[in-house]
Symmetry: C2
């Protein structure tokens, strides 16, 4: 891959010209930072991503990890080498407190930094991405001792972390997990059960692996109210920080996937007696916080992971977009429309209207998604570091937007990857180019960390109804402010503002109508359609924001922003019309189906 | 794969209850046939597909063909074994004249037969699929001697065939091919040049390979008017039919693809001197028909191949649909909407509205596409064997619908495969299940035999304008007859007829508006959008046809048809509204883009 995996020019526009992230340095937590330190992190990230992550992306795909006879995991050595460079540069710790050895970077910068790695090599980037989420959870909810024992080594890159939720029989239905945690006299717990789909669940990349495991303590309430959270290390850690006995956590198998092949995805047994720490079967676990509050703690990590999945989808979409732009600018084929002279020279394929459609659609998807992702990351910073009401508003907005920032890029940046293949024609379908891998890698994102369907239920069933609809009201108010600014500017901005305003009004009315039924089954029957409408509305708003940020600036870069905004408002936002009609009709097609009809 | 790859029940409905294919036996060519012989072919096809094709589908994907040091191709032995069973059963020859050893099957039956193999194993089925198209071209345009020499062995399964159009520098732009054919004193030609993307271009599956090659005779006109067509066998054939010298056709390399891995896809050199038939370099070729008429002959095969690609997409979509139906009926997870009791048992996932959406959407796509494919195959039969005006009307309708039957399944049955993955959740993303392979295999179909963009140009630039718009008028008339019947039936049929009628009217008006500009560049700028609108209109009509065919019949099967029709009219057809708005606006967004903006 010689093409850059992301556009630094676009990141600079989004971070500095639009989101004005430099203003974050006025806050105490970020006071040591400046535009210069931010730029240095971005430069460093781009450099390491291009030099150490991108070069083995295809090799890791073609040579996926496998289990050795002794139960250990073999993978190509480039993964560990790249991750060592990453950790040594301090990038695992970027967002964390200085007291923990971190840089206290704003989340928005940390996400932009991580996006370089996700775009260069999705699989290799997943190990630190999960580890950061794991460490963040422990910093928020773990004890001092847990932070010292597990977080510090993660931030140094010596340990990696996982999240262990799913079980074979339960899938996304956490109420049905059966992994058991029995309290011991010494205050520890012993866990027994099987966890499924655990990314990074085993490997030899680090000295140790820190599993965060959902389990039930016998006697706890049924369902999700009886779930507790435990730290379960692969190897026990002594008081002095040295590694002790092997814990009773065993790799049973690796899943072999369509894409994302470089990330181990595992079936893990806890407490099956393969190992006997302290002379006994059972995986030793340490309770995080209090019993039966595990799910709320895990949502700390889950919400962060959902934004991260959005960024994974964005990054893969972006990398494919840039490669197809380059391909279309260098490949010549056919003639300009209307040129009937067979002796004239073939033209660059980006001269053809349909190729331009595919490039412009990709641009609208990936740059719109990147802007949305960074906006949400900035909301996280505001939630954590702004004063008073600004923080609580940011928290509410972020909570509302989380299903969108997870699902929208997963759907549309995957579509971008499909278009990137199409721009390449037959070449794009071969493994000689990168775009087919991006497409395969990206197909994971609508599935993990809550499927598309689950995001729809979360949005319509919870996010827009919580607090009497305060999240939706705040979002509408925020979009309304943008619309007002756009109207003041006039021209295309005002034209798009009208289109957006109409959709915002319809979404509010439709939401009321759906819940006005008083029947959750009818209200939620088309929640996936609602999710798609909502996503397109939000990204249209984000494009209007970008258009306003580009206002008055000249040159190809800004003209490109204007063209992509125009594409989004003319080709994309109108899709929502028939979808809203369907929702307004309280359609029962899906409810009336008898499965025997399939 | 234990699930059937296709639904025989649905085929029976489409062939007998809807298309009334038994009436074809009243025609002279099919007089020896009956419902019994048709059923026997379908039974045989299903049996061989399930027993000999499906079992090695995954293995062929995981063990793709490779070139040995001697330039020959190694592949898993199951491919040749399955193809021998296929040929020995007479299935290559199914559609051909009895005088050639064929069964004189109607095309609609031959397509239904082949669909079983495409659904069971797309890659293995591609070898005979291409060979049949090759043989059909030679029967139509080749000499008696060419038919005896090349077609008969193909029909016996001793030779396979290819079509060689693309070249590395020319891609889809056939005007720019440079392969040269020089006339020799003995009436043969010698070809030199390089052909790219040749499926089945080399292998050891058969004694010989019959290439149909586009090339230019020196002195011919520039562009497509100077293209001639040649038969170029891998090995020369003596007068007695025995194999002679190796021709100068050399495998240069195999493409390694995302899917469809079992079908060799090749770069071939013609006449590079690796072999010297008759003591000289240059690939020996035999002119088909007349010089400079090659492209029109090749379109014979190309049009057939385009329908075949549609069937490939349909079959893969169908196989994935049936697997996800079965998965959803056996997998339990979560609770019914509104059930807050964590102690109640998990339900089958097809109880969840969003899973039903994904199953119903797949059903609407794959059954709609299968019906369209068979309808087009029946039009081919009418074109070839009906009397007088009925034949010419069928030919015109088929010509108009060819870009749709190629493109619509390639887009929407791929989407069906994505939904099949999604129904399976994480499992669908693993290679333990089949659906991820279907998705990878199917991604080829919007690319080969004319990309999606090329189909759009063909439809809007040629098919709806030819003969003063007679194709579009005939289609509108045909759809109008269905609408009238639906109105007579009333109820849902009449409701859908109104929706369809409105779209038909808008498409006619929009077509007039686009060409009313007098500017082809503006008219064609959004031809892909036009293609999508047209496809949804056509498939909505096909669903209305199915609904009418199910009218008055009771039971799960017919209720399923009614539910899928309802889905299509409520969720799918309305998508065309904003797309038609865009087309009506004569939008210039794509034309106004400067590639420097990307």
């Amino acid at each position: 891959m010689t093409t850059a995996p992301l556009s630094r020019r676009d990141l600079d526009f989004l971070l500095y010209e639009w989101l004005d992230v430099t203003s974050l340095t006025e806050r105490k937590r970020f006071a040591e930072h400046s535009r210069e330190t931010f730029d240095a992190v971005l430069d460093l990230s781009a450099d390491i991503a291009v030099k150490h992550f991108a070069p083995h992306n295809k090799k890791a795909d073609a040579n996926e990890p496998h289990m050795r006879a002794d139960g250990s995991v073999e993978m190509i050595p480039e993964v560990a080498e790249a991750l060592k460079v990453f950790a040594d540069a301090g990038l695992v710790a970027g967002q964390f407190d200085e007291s923990l050895g971190g840089m206290q970077l704003p989340a928005v910068l940390a996400r932009a930094s991580m996006a370089w790695f996700q775009a260069a090599n999705a699989s290799t980037s997943s190990y630190p991405f999960l580890s950061v989420g794991n460490a963040n959870l422990l910093v928020a909810h773990g004890s001092e001792q847990q932070i010292d024992t597990f977080v510090r080594p993660i931030l140094e890159g010596r340990f990696f972390g996982t999240m262990c939720l799913s079980e074979p029989q339960a899938g996304s239905s956490l109420a049905d997990i059966t992994t058991k945690a029995v309290r011991q006299d010494d205050g520890t717990y012993r866990l027994t059960g099987t966890k499924m789909w655990i990314s990074g669940g085993d490997h030899e990349l680090t000295e140790n692996i820190v599993h965060l495991v959902l389990a039930k303590v016998p006697g706890s309430p049924a369902g999700v109210k009886g779930i507790s959270l435990f730290v379960v290390p692969k190897k026990l850690v002594e008081e002095d920080g040295s590694l002790g006995e092997r814990n009773d956590v065993t790799l049973v198998g690796l899943n072999h996937k369509m894409g994302n092949r470089g990330t181990t995805n595992t079936l893990l047994n806890f407490g099956d007696g393969t190992h006997t720490p302290g002379g006994e079967a059972g995986a030793v676990g340490y309770l995080v916080g209090e019993e039966n509050k595990g799910l709320s703690y895990m949502f700390h990590m889950m919400n962060e992971a959902r934004i991260g999945v959005g960024f994974l989808a964005i990054s893969l979409g972006y990398a494919g977009y840039l490669q197809s732009v380059e391909y279309a600018a260098t490949r010549t084929q056919g003639r300009a429309a209307g040129d009937k002279d067979p002796s004239s020279a073939p033209v660059r394929i980006d001269r053809h209207a349909d190729v331009r459609r595919m490039l412009l659609a990709q641009k609208a998807y990936v740059e719109g998604a990147m802007a949305l992702g960074l906006y949400c990351a900035k909301l996280f910073d505001d939630q954590e570091t702004a004063e008073g009401e600004e923080a609580s508003r940011a928290a509410l907005l972020l909570d509302t937007l989380t299903p969108i920032v997870k699902s929208w890029p997963s759907q549309w940046c995957l579509e971008a990857n499909s278009l990137a293949i199409q721009v390449h024609g037959g070449y794009g379908y071969t493994r000689d180019y990168d775009v087919e891998q991006f497409y395969r890698d990206n197909r994971l994102n609508p599935i993990h960390e809550g499927t598309h369907g689950i995001q729809g239920l979360d949005l319509l069933g919870r996010k827009v109804t919580m607090g009497g609809g305060s999240g939706l009201a705040l979002l509408a108010e925020t979009m309304g402010a943008t619309i007002a600014r756009a109207n003041a500017v006039g021209g295309a901005a005002a034209e798009y503002a009208d289109l957006l305003g109409a959709v915002v009004g319809r979404v509010a009315a439709t939401t009321g109508k759906l819940w006005g039924t008083g029947d959750p089954e009818v209200a939620l029957a088309n929640s996936s359609t609602y999710l798609e409408v909502f996503g397109h509305m939000v990204v249209a708003w984000i494009w209007l924001e970008q258009l306003l940020a580009a206002e008055g600036s000249e040159g190809d870069f800004y003209d490109g922003k204007r063209a992509a905004a125009r594409y989004f408002f003319r080709y994309e936002l109108p899709r929502t019309g028939p979808q809203l009609d369907l929702l307004d009709s309280l359609d029962r097609t899906l409810l009336d189906v008898d499965p025997a009809w399939f």
